[in-house]
Symmetry: C2
DNA sequence: TCAAAAATGTTATGTTATTACATATCAATT
DNA sequence: AATTGATATGTAATAACATAACATTTTTGA
């Protein structure tokens, strides 16, 4: 039975990596993921990076550029429209993913103003979350 | 005669690194800077990274997180208020730094809504510049 | 079934950034 | 001038993040 999504079923390594990220409380680096999957037979970074590439492409996982780390998407729609922003607590490393349409629209207008053909946006906000003030 | 800015005079290595970035057409990685400064006696990455740390702290240089590279600030005021965004052309690697106050304000409100104490924002827009369409 | 495409395994290497420790420079105080 | 403390610099080694290249297996679909 085929999924009704445009995404294909996940392959074995993709599923292993995705599940690790789903279960994680915080973002994980590729090498942390590797270590967590040694028991499943993972032996080299490329096994993780290849799975991550696909998962990011599918919109199921996002890379946090300011942390060199990865998180599972907390929405259901990032396959279609990319996430607007991430708020990252520097104290507890918690991350919350925001889908603010007005922010996306603002960035789109900014690009238009400069005749810039916008393909991808990265917005990462660092600070302290409400639990860490 | 002291500068009227709050920034101290640049030290030798800081000035060398800053001048290289000022003259560069595109963002440079730390290791590219190292190679450009071998003739000036630079021998190790740390000489570059230490200078970059200070220059970033002074607001004279910004790190582009999505490129792992550095650019000289194109404004005079980034010591006070951080840059709003960077537009990065994926074709020609040109970068333009934007100081959009309404974007900064938008991000500030977004953080407030979530009771997030915002310390630093990273906004990097990728696509094609007007010369590369 | 068969060939093409995608996914995986493995080794080696490339790139970015930091740790640790030694030495030098500079400014303030005695 | 000598002492001190703070900042800056030099150097080697290593850690952390990411990709290249090539072989093999699995999946897909004609
Ligand atoms: Zn998402
Ligand atoms: Zn927190
Ligand atoms: Zn600036
Ligand atoms: Zn361009």
């Amino acid at each position: 039975m085929a999924s009704h999504h445009s995404q294909p079923e996940l392959k074995k390594n993709q599923k292993l990596v995705f599940d690790v990220l789903k279960d994680a409380a915080n973002p994980l680096s590729a090498y942390s993921i590797l270590d967590l999957l040694r028991g499943e037979g993972f032996r080299a970074p490329l096994q993780v990076y290849r799975a991550l590439d696909k998962l990011v492409e599918f919109g199921l996982v996002h890379k946090l550029e300011t942390l060199n780390a990865f998180v599972a998407c907390s929405h259901d729609d990032c396959a279609l429209s990319e996430p607007a922003a991430f708020m990252i607590c520097d104290a507890c490393e918690s991350v919350s993913e925001l889908g603010d349409a007005s922010l996306s629209s603002h960035l789109g207008k900014l690009a238009n103003t400069e005749n810039f053909a916008l393909k991808h946006t990265t917005v990462e906000l660092h600070g302290r979350c409400k639990n860490c003030l």
